[in-house]
């Protein structure tokens, strides 16, 4: 794990981030999607991986033997993250439902700490979108399908 101590004293600011504002404006919440498609699960499938990301960034709860845990090695302390989530959920993301507001707040906190910047995030999202929406893009030449591809 990288030494992240350079990041820990950074106090987050709560200025808006244009990419996150755009997602806030255009993104469809789980509440809307589940109602439209008749899905009963109250939380989006990505909630559990979001929780894991939060846990692992806090470091002190990550999947490691306790002897390997360095209490000072964390990227985003749980208490700082929760305080900032409270603040952002009451201000910039106040009209965003849960857990989308938790996700936007986490991304905001990470950008403000310099873990990645807005452009990197934008580019990564574009590549993921392409990956998810273009079924033929990966090289599957060495894969045997047990069903007929339509």
């Amino acid at each position: 794990m990288v030494n992240t101590k350079n990041f820990v004293d950074v106090k987050a600011n709560f200025d808006s981030v244009s990419l996150l504002d755009e997602i806030k404006a255009k993104g469809r919440s789980w509440k809307d999607l589940s109602a439209q498609y008749g899905v009963e699960n109250p939380e989006p499938p990505w909630k559990v991986t979001l929780e894991t990301t939060c846990d692992l960034l806090a470091g002190d709860s990550c999947y490691r033997d306790h002897n390997e845990i360095d209490a000072n090695d964390y990227s985003l302390a749980a208490l700082d993250r929760r305080n900032e989530e409270d603040e952002l959920s009451a201000s910039l993301y106040k009209d965003v439902p849960y857990p989308e507001n938790q996700l936007l707040s986490l991304a905001h906190s990470m950008i403000q700490r310099g873990h990645f910047d807005e452009n990197e995030l934008k580019s990564c999202m574009a590549s993921i979108k392409e990956r998810l929406l273009d079924e033929d893009s990966p090289d599957e030449s060495n894969t045997t399908f047990l069903f007929e591809k339509s």
């Binding site: 990505w46 033997d65 989308e100 995030l121």
Partner: protein, 238 residues
């Protein structure tokens, strides 16, 4: 009948058939964190598998068992960590770290209600919650409104949750912290005489275990709870 039918219908459950920007954002945050070396993909996969196994059923079973067995009830009150083993939760060895975790610390206390004493749990600082035995916290538990108001006006907040307490019932609010987590053991309701452990466990809902509801025969799910914004948000540098 085709091979696909197997003699019974396979109607697929409805699913969301579009990818939202939020879903993409979650993946991007995770993948960038891995790319930057903040954690590994393997750690993420392993921890997710563990988190996936958590839910409120072990805590419900613990309470049901205690209602049927006085000795076990005594153990729950004296040593919640030891009592948890009987419902499949080992707060120490059962954790991926094999020694608890600092954020889900291995100190569980079971708060037993009586007809004249009602416990309710909060985390005023953030949203500490006994995840290994109760799963993920609900949204309202995380809100500053619940966290700040419950410690000031517990009876009012409980009444907003539909729980009206008589004046002669003492209310105790337990504030969770990094080292200690709590669950409430409510009193066994009337009308459950002769019930099995399975039947009893069904009415011990998550909200009963937090303390904002009490078990009732016939009620096996959590009601929709109010999620209110803080009226006067308090800046965190205060």
């Amino acid at each position: 009948m085709s091979d696909k039918d197997h003699g019974h219908s396979h109607k697929a459950a409805p699913m969301v058939e579009e990818v939202s920007d939020f879903e993409i954002l979650e993946i991007a945050v995770r993948e960038l964190a891995i790319e930057k070396g903040l954690f590994s993909a393997e750690d993420h996969r392993s921890w997710t598998e563990y988190i996936h196994t958590l839910g409120p059923l072990p805590a419900a079973r613990l309470v049901a068992k205690a209602w049927l067995d006085e000795d076990y009830k005594k153990l729950c009150i004296e040593d919640g960590v030891e009592a948890s083993k009987a419902v499949g939760v080992d707060w120490i060895e059962g954790m991926p770290t094999k020694f608890g975790t600092p954020s889900d610390y291995c100190n569980l206390r079971v708060l037993a209600d009586t007809p004249k004493l009602k416990h309710v749990v909060v985390c005023t600082l953030c949203s500490c919650y006994p995840r290994p035995i109760l799963g993920q916290s609900p949204e309202w538990y995380r809100t500053p409104n619940y966290r700040r108001r419950l410690v000031r006006w517990p009876r009012s907040v409980l009444s907003e949750f539909g729980l009206q307490l008589d004046d002669d019932v003492e209310v105790r609010v337990a504030d969770s912290n990094q080292k200690t987590r709590y669950i409430v053991m409510p009193t066994r309701p009337e009308g459950t005489e002769g019930w099995t452990e399975d039947q009893l466990a069904e009415i011990v809902t998550r909200d009963c275990l937090i303390g904002v509801a009490v078990p009732k025969p016939g009620v096996t799910s959590n009601a929709t709870r109010p999620v209110r914004k803080a009226l006067k948000p308090v800046p965190h540098d205060h």
